[in-house]
Structure formats: C-alpha cells, structure tokens
C-alpha cells in the first residue's frame, strides 16, 4: 500500500508532475526537439507575397536568428528565459510581447498580435501546428536531425538561418552574418594554434539544474561541432544520440580527466556546489591541473550564429585565464 503516495497518486500529482517540470526545466536549458529524421523543416513551401514583418518566434534560436537579421519579432515565448540564457547583441526590444511558455504558448496572445508569420520548433509545436497555421502561416524547423540523415546540427542551424533570411527577404544580411561567424571561427582557430588548449582534447558539459547529472556532449552536438571548427578535439565519445549528449555523473569523468573541461552551470546548483568538497572531483586531473573552465550559465549552445560567436568567445576567454 506504500504506493499510495509515491507511485499511485504520486504519479498523478507528484511524481508525474516532477517529471513534467523536470523535463520542462530540461527544456529550458536544452532546446531539444525531435522529429521526422528526413527533414529539418516543415511546410517549407510557404509563399509570401510580401516579406512578413510581424513575426512570432516560439523558440529562442529563431528569436536570435531574427535579431541577427535586424528584425524585432512582435511576440516571443518565455522572454524572461530568453533574457536569462541567451546573451547576444542586438537585444530584444521592450515592446516585444511575451506569449507564454515555449511548450504551451498562449494561442490567444499569439492571435491577438495578428502576426503574418509564426516560427516554431517541431517537437514542441507540431501538435499545435494546425491551430498555429489557422492564426498565421507557420514555419516549424527541426534543429536535431537524426544521426542517420547525416545532417549535422551545425549545418542545420546555418540552413535554417538562411531559410529565415530568405523568408524575410534579408538574404544578403544572412550571408554576411554567417560569413562573419565563419571568420570568427577561423580567427579563433588561429589564435588557439599551438596553445595548450589545442594540444589536449576537450570535453563539454552542462550541469542539469536540480539533479546530480551532467550532460556531456558528443560529436552530434552543434556546440561540439563548433569547437571542432576551432581545430579542437572532443574526448567524449558516448553512445550516439540524436540530441548530441549523454547524461552522466562524476563517475564517468575519470575516464576523460586528461581533457580540458568546459562546463555550463548555474552557480547556485547545489550539486555543482557540493563538487568542490568532493574528493573524487578534487582528484580529477583537470581539476588538479586547473584545466576546467566555467563558461557561464548564459552560454546558449543551442542558438544561432550570434550565440555560436558568443560561445567561441567564452572558450577563448577560458583559454586566456
């Protein structure tokens, strides 16, 4: 009868909800999606007589893409979260309207904005695609192509960015932004040449809020692919995963302790705090030799070209320390 709390109604109200909130928290940090492997874009055949100007973006990467193209969206999902996690210039204008959570945006708030384009992400918004389309033409993208497709997350990011640039009639600007990103990568690669950072492989991790877990990114992850552009080598080879990470805890770290450890965490994560006292952690080679670098909690490694530049800049900063 002990299931009464923990499992039975615990499921309905407690545990299930913990799962839900846990997962949505996970989403706050990992803008994950999943979808039909063969395509990264849904209803790409949209035709616009006039380039859309009133755009609602339901996922942060597309908010960022629009800003990079010089367009302020009219509505954005979870603006507080965007401002917390995504640090790019230009910033969102104060006039942009919050339309609720990314997972369940307020359809009424979106309708009220009378947008002429809605951009969403497949996993979250496919279920409501029809309703969104009834409000305005809707583009859904899938930033996490299945490994079998051979489409890398970094390529998908660039393609989607260009697609959005095309839709809003800003191709030239889009090409320029991508060109700048690539030259930033090249400059960074040159800067790191011969440096200690380039001689050892790296691992990239993200502490999961509220749980003793680290997501270690593998070669499928966009962030890892960006660092590979800097001629750095990823030491973490976990199981192949569509989203590009494997969830581990410090037991898995000794195996890769000779790498440089870049990590993203909220400073007040209690499990991260506890590590400082933990002898396993203190004894890891990258801790003893001071080769672990916090690159902040506001490094958005699931973003667009500008976030990619911010991410590279953080890595360069870590190298200078």
């Amino acid at each position: 009868m002990k299931m009464s709390f923990n499992s039975w109604m615990g499921y309905y109200f407690g545990q299930l909800f913990r799962f839900i909130v846990c997962f949505s928290l996970g989403f706050a940090v990992v803008a994950c999606t999943n979808g039909i492997p063969s395509q990264t874009e849904v209803n790409s055949s949209l035709e616009f007589a006039e380039p859309p100007t009133r755009i609602v973006a339901l996922e942060w990467v597309y908010v960022e893409d629009l800003l990079a193209l010089g367009i302020q969206p009219v509505g954005v999902a979870d603006i507080a979260g965007y401002n917390e996690f995504v640090q790019i210039e230009p910033q969102l204008a104060d006039t942009v309207v919050d339309v609720g959570t990314r997972q369940e945006p307020s359809l009424e708030a979106i309708a009220q904005l009378e947008p002429d384009l809605i951009i969403g992400v497949k996993l979250r918004h496919e279920a409501i695609a029809d309703t969104l389309s009834a409000i305005a033409p809707t583009l859904l993208f899938d930033p996490y192509p299945a490994p079998e497709t051979g489409i890398r997350q970094l390529d998908e990011m660039e393609q989607t960015f260009l697609k959005i640039a095309e839709v809003v009639n800003a191709q030239a600007k889009g090409e320029a932004v991508l060109q700048e990103m690539r030259s930033k990568f090249e400059a960074a690669a040159q800067q790191l040449q011969g440096q200690q950072l380039a001689q050892n492989p790296f691992i990239l991790g993200q502490f999961v809020p509220g749980a003793p877990q680290i997501r270690l990114f593998n070669d499928n992850a966009m962030a890892v692919q960006i660092l590979q552009q800097l001629d750095l080598t990823n030491a973490w080879q976990g199981a192949v995963d569509q989203f590009g990470f494997n969830t581990v805890w410090i037991e898995s770290l000794p195996a890769v302790q000779n790498a440089h450890f870049f990590y993203i965490t909220e400073e007040n994560n209690p499990y991260y705090q506890q590590l400082k006292e933990n002898p396993i952690w203190k004894n890891l080679a990258f801790v003893k030799e001071n080769r672990f670098y916090s690159i902040g909690s506001d490094t958005w490694i699931f973003g667009g070209p500008l976030s990619a530049e911010v991410f590279v800049e953080k890595v360069l900063q870590a190298n200078r320390l």
Binding site: M1, K2, M3, S4, F5, N6, S7, W8, M9, G10, Y11, Y12, F13, G14, Q15, L16, F17, R18, F19, I20, V21, C22, F23, S24, F27, V30, N34, I36, G100, T101, Q103, E104, P105, S106, E108, A109, A111, Q112, E114, L123, T131, A134, I135, P209, G210, P212, Q213, G238, A239, D241, T247, I250, E251, P254, P270, Y271, Q274, N278, P279, I280
Partner: protein
Amino acid sequence: MFKIFESKLSPLASRQLTSAVLILLGGLLLLVMLLFIHIIQGQTDINIGTTINAIVAPNDELATHNIVRLMRLPRAAIAVITGCAWGIAGALLQTVTRNPLASSSTLGINAGAYFAVAATGIFAPDLFARSPVLVALTGGLLAAGLTYAIASGAQVSPIRLTLSGVAVSLALASFTALLQVFYENQTTGLFFWGAGSLLQTDWSNSVYAFPRVAIAAGLALLMSHSLDVLLLGDDMARSLGQRVQLTRLSATAIAVFLAAVAVSVVGPIGFIGLVAPHLVRLMGCRPHALLLPGSAIWGAVVLVAADIFAQSVKTNLSEIPVGTVIPLVGAPFLIGLVRKTANLDGGKGRTALASSHRPSRRFSYPLLLGTAIVALAVALVAGLVWGGITLNLSQILATFLGGGTALSQKVIFSLRLPRLLVAIFAGASLAVSGLLLQGVVRNAIAGPEIVGITSGAGLGAMCVLILLPNPPVEAVAIAAFVGAFVAFAAVCLLAWRDGLSPASLALVGIAVSAFCSSGINLLVVMAKLRVAQALVWLSGSTYAREWVDLWRLIAWPLVLLPIAWIFSRWLDIMALGDDVPRLVGIPLQKARGILLTIAVALAAAAVSTVGTISFVGLIAPHAARILVGTNHRKLVPFAAILGALLVAISDTIGRVVLAPKEIPAGLVVAAIGTPYFLWLLWQTRGKMA
C-alpha cells in the same frame, strides 16, 4: 489475514528457530550478496579487485577508489539504512493498527512528510535547513492524524483506514504538485530527491540518518514483548498488565519517526514497509523480537535489489529513481496480499455510501437541475469572455451573429469554443464514470483513477508514443482506450473471488494503477525527450484542443450518458446490498459488468482526449449526492453537469491566472478539488467503508 497476527507467546519452538535462521541469517547473506552486486555497479567499470582494495586499503589518489568509497558505498549504506527504517516502520504500524495493509504511506505519513518538506523548503528554508527530520516528522504526524480522524468510527477496519490514508495522500500529493508549479524555481532541487533516488555524493546523509534509525530501531526492539502482547487483543493485553495505549502511542511515534527520517534523506519511496514485514511473516515468523529485525533486513534487501534493477536500466537521459521501479515489485505483492486476505472489509463489504449523504430537502430537483444548467451556461460564457485576452459580451454576441473582428472570430471559434466544449464533455464523462464506479463498488472514494482506468489509459498511450516514431493522434487515443480496458479487466480478474468485492476491487485497482504508473515513469525516462508532448497530455490539459478533438470525444458521452441513465436504476437497488438485487431479479454480476463497461468507456474517452484529469470523477458524484440524494436517475444528469462545470471553470481559470502562461486544467481541478475532497472525507468519516 488477522490470523497471522496471532502470535503464541510460547518459547521458540524448533520450527521458529528454523525460520529465525532463514530470516536473519538467510536475509543477511542475501543482503551481503546484493550489496556486493550493488557496489560493483555503476557508470564506469571498476573490477572486483579494485573495489575490495578501495575498501580495505583506500588510496585517496585513485579515482576508482574514491568512486567506490564516496559514491557507491554511501549509496549502498543509505539503501540499507532507509530500507531498515521503512521495514521496521511498516511492521510496527501493522501491529499497532492490527491492519495487514498498514505502512507509512498507507497512513499518509510519507505524503505528509514530503509535503511538509516541500512547503518549508519554499516558505521557510531556514527552518528546513535546521532540522529536516523535524519538519518531515511534523508533516508525517499531522497526516497520520488526519488519516485516523477521517477513518475513525466505531471500528477501524483495514479497508477504511487504508482508503482514507490513500485519500489523504492523494490530497497532500496534489498540494505538493501545486507548490511545485507555482514555486518552480524554489523547488527544482526537490524533484530528483522527491522521485526517490538513492544517489549520494558523500556520507553526510548516512551519517545523519544512521544514529537516528539505529536508536529508534533499538527502542522498537525493546518493545517487542509489549507488541506481542498487544496482538492478543486489548483486553487480554490489559489483563496481562500492559498499558495498551502507551504501547500503541510509543510504537506509532517510533514508526512515524523512522519513516520521517527515511523520507527526509531519500524522499518518499513506496512499498518497502508493506512488503518486508509480510515476507518475514510468510517465512513463519511472528514474535516481534524476530519480526522487527527481520523486517529491517528484508526491507534493506528489497530496496537494494530494486536499486540494482533501477541502475541496470540504461538510459541516455537520466538515472531512473528507485522509487519509480519499486511498485513493479510491490504492486503484484499487494495484489497477492489482497487476494489472500479474507474478509478485508471486516464485515460484509457493505459500504454506507447510499446513506452517507442525506439529500438537501430544501430544494426540489428541477430547481437544482435548472440552477446547474444555468451555472454551466454562465461558465461557458465566462470561458468565452476571459482568457489571454478579454472579449466583452457584445463582441461575443456579434461574433456569434456572424460579425466581429477577424481576431474575435479566431479566438472564439478556433480557440476557446472547441476547448471549452471538450472540457465540458470530458468533465461530464469523468463525473458519470465516477458515479457509476462508486455505485457499483459501493465505495465513496472510488473513481476512474482508483480502479486503474486512468493510468491504464496513460500507459497505453505512452507505449504507442514511444514505440511508434510519429504516431497519429488516433493511434494514441485507441491505445489509451485499450490500456484502460486492459488495466480495468486486469483489476477485475485479479480482484475476483466468487464475485467482485468492492474492497478488493479498490485495493487491486490501486495496485494496478501503481504498476501502470511505474511503467509510465520508466518509459518517460527511457524514451528521453521524445515524450515531452506526452507529458503535457498526461498532466491533464485542455490546451489547444480543437474541433477534431471534440468530434473524436463527443460520440462517447452522447451515446453512453443516456445509456448510463437508463441502467442507473440498478444502482439504487444495488446500493441496498448484495441480497436485494437478487431478490428483485437483477442479475448482479451482469449488471455490474454492464455498468462498469460504460464507466470505463466514458473515462477512457475522456482520458484519451484531455489526459489524466483526476478528482472530477471523485468530486462531482459526491457533490451531486449531497444535493440531490440517492436516486441515480436524478444523479446521472446532475453529476454530469457538475463535472462539466468543474472542468470548464478550471480551463478558464488556467488560462487567466498566469496568462500568458497556462496552467493545465487537471491541476486547477486538483486545486479546487483537494480542499473539497478533504472536507468531504471529513464529513463522511465513520460512514465510509
């Protein structure tokens, strides 16, 4: 079942010696073996030689040694400590209540402790930091007190105590879930812990829990003799010079303390306190001098074994908390226990459902029905007026007459109206489903969630969502249907013993629900982020429901509600007991079968459309009974309207309160329903079961 409690106070016979050896030495041996497996298990392979070296000749410089000594050993230790604590607590509670189904969560103790911890974690973090156990203890005691108060009557039967404990847990768990929604940031750290994970990062929890559990266990052991005497009955115990109340009180206090310590270090983990003492008794051991240490050892065995299983389920996303897998073992165990237990109700299985509510005589039925219909209409209009944006009445009227702006057209016709109508029909279906179930089971707190329908539907839907890469909505709905029927059929089959006794139906239903819920949680974790949309659905939501959802749902209530109304007359007669229907020529089992089928179909239709909205099937029928009495022909329409009203209002509130953020209707129903539910239980105390 009570037979097993009748211990003879004779000296240990040779048979008892054998069982003592089996229980203590066998259990210890098994525990050591399991611990060995447990310790060599983990994310990295550490071989046995290194593991032994790490224990006997630790080298601080070696990562492998540190992992063994600072992660794996503390995890094993905390499993043993809390397993012992829950095992002893369960044994004590079973003796004190003379209830074979008692354990720290049967009495709401785990739920109370967890709620107290969550609440103080948010509102008084300093207090929580000062003494987590004190906080958990207070919560546990209050919850246990509430359970007793609700169950109290002339004679506390196992079923009544169990069901009121379940009810209290239900209410507290929904409070906890609400806290987690509204104070997301302050409670994030609680989630992993709250799911019952044993993962440790140092020895601090063990150092904290060990002395407390050891002392409490020692005190319990000192009471062995008094506890033995207690089982002979109060009168006998008194004549043997026992201070019965004192023994009861102190044993209960020790049990609650043990459970509170365990909950405060690893979160609420179920079933151990139920399983361990029964395992020991099954091996032929009765006296508490053996039962208590035996329950401790076997509690540890169960928890360590479950944790081994939990760790061995590989997943890329997350570790699976042991609390999630325990019901996979515990639920079948409970079902077995229920099947073996004769006379669970402590009587004829007669519930006082029919007489528990006197109808309100002040109002005539047509007046009440009319008022309810008007209220529903008002709720519908209110739902059209308020939301992310506010439309006034003239705008709405204009829109309905074909005018209005493009925006008001969109908001009303493609957003608000379909979801409100879905809410109304789902609410009505759930309410009538609950009404029929309560009538057949003759239990005041039966509902679609109690007899396994809701979680069965959830498990069915989850299987499809995970097995098929991109399932069509129809497949998910069909799977939910199949899941509901399979789960309920399993409940009926497993509870069947010369017919369906209401008590065993409810208990087996709870066990099957737990089993399905575990399965859902396992699938959620193993399937990774793919199930995000499923999670939203499972939380019970009317979000973004469209006309297609309404068309998919509406046929069921439109067909089944009138049928339910026609057959509902049987319930009036069935309420009078098992004999009366036979006398008037109603084939009892067949009637039950028909009514239950209708109930399951209604609930499955609702669940497959709006997910797992609980409480509607519990509350609406009760409120209806209070207002219109016991005539089911009157109750069916009235309960349907109340259910519709409840979900429609919840949908509107969920859209308005935190706009543009939406709260799932299921949670709003819980917020409205929980206080009502507790009040209701209080009102029916002494009449239930």
